[in-house]
Symmetry: C2
Subunit: 131 residues, 2 copies
C-alpha cells in the first residue's frame, strides 16, 4: 500500500505554493484544471508521496463548499490501488458508503474514486489507480 | 523531504484500527501513550510514510478539544527533518508562528515540534527528527 498524496484545500493556489515551498519545494509542474471536481491543483513530490494543493475553480466546486464550512486544511488522503473499481467495491462489501459508484477521470490522467468520509472515521479517502 | 506520517484524530483507537486495517493493514506495534500530548497512538506503515491514529488519553488532551470542535479526521501532517529546532526556527524566520519554541519528546522516542496551523494555511505541521 502506498499513500499517493495528501490533498489540501486552499483558497489561493499561488499563495499556497509560495507558503509551502520553503518546506517541501516547488510543484512538479504547472497547475492543472480537473474538470470533474472543478478544482485547479498542483502536486509537489515529497518522498514516495505527494502534497496536492487544491483551489476551487468556481463556487460549484466541492472544495469551495469545504472551504466555506471547514476552512483551509487537509481535504482528503489518496491511496494508490491496482483497481479503483475493486477498492470501491471492497468498501461497500464491508458496509461502507462510497461517493463514487465507479472510477472516473482525475488529475494527472489517473482513474480515481472517493469513499464517503463515514467509511474511514471522518477522513475522505480517494483511491488512485496506478503504481 | 519525507512525509513522516499523517496524524488522524479518532475517538476510539481500537475501533479506528479495525476500520483502517482492511485498507492499510495492522499497526506496527502496540499502542503507545504519549504523555506530552495526552494521547494514545498507533502507527501503521504505508510505503515510506505512516498513518498515526491518535486517541485522547483524557479530556485535557489537545486531541480531545480537536474532536469536540472539528470531529474525527486528519489532525496534522508530520515531516521528517534533520533538526526540529532548526525547522521551527526557519518557520519563525519567515514570520510564521510555532506552537513549540523548541523540540520536545514525542512518540516513538523521537524529538518533535509543532508549527502553528497559520504558518501552513490551516494545516497543523509537525516536525519529527530522524531519517
Amino acid at each position: 500500500m502506498r499513500l499517493d498524496h495528501v490533498g489540501i484545500a486552499v483558497p489561493d493556489l499561488s499563495a499556497a505554493i509560495a507558503q509551502w515551498r520553503p518546506l517541501i519545494g516547488a510543484p512538479d509542474g504547472a497547475p492543472e484544471l480537473v474538470p470533474s471536481n472543478r478544482v485547479r491543483v498542483a502536486f509537489v513530490t515529497v518522498g514516495d508521496t505527494h502534497v496536492e494543493l487544491l483551489e476551487p475553480a468556481d463556487a460549484t466546486s466541492p472544495v469551495a463548499r469545504f472551504l466555506e464550512s471547514r476552512g483551509p486544511g487537509v481535504h482528503h488522503l489518496a491511496f494508490a490501488v491496482p483497481s479503483v473499481d475493486r477498492a470501491l467495491g471492497e468498501v461497500r462489501d464491508r458496509g461502507g458508503r462510497t461517493v463514487d459508484e465507479r472510477a472516473r477521470p482525475g488529475a494527472r490522467g489517473r482513474r480515481v474514486g472517493f469513499a464517503h468520509p463515514s467509511a474511514f472515521g471522518g477522513v475522505l479517502v480517494e483511491f488512485v489507480e496506478g503504481p
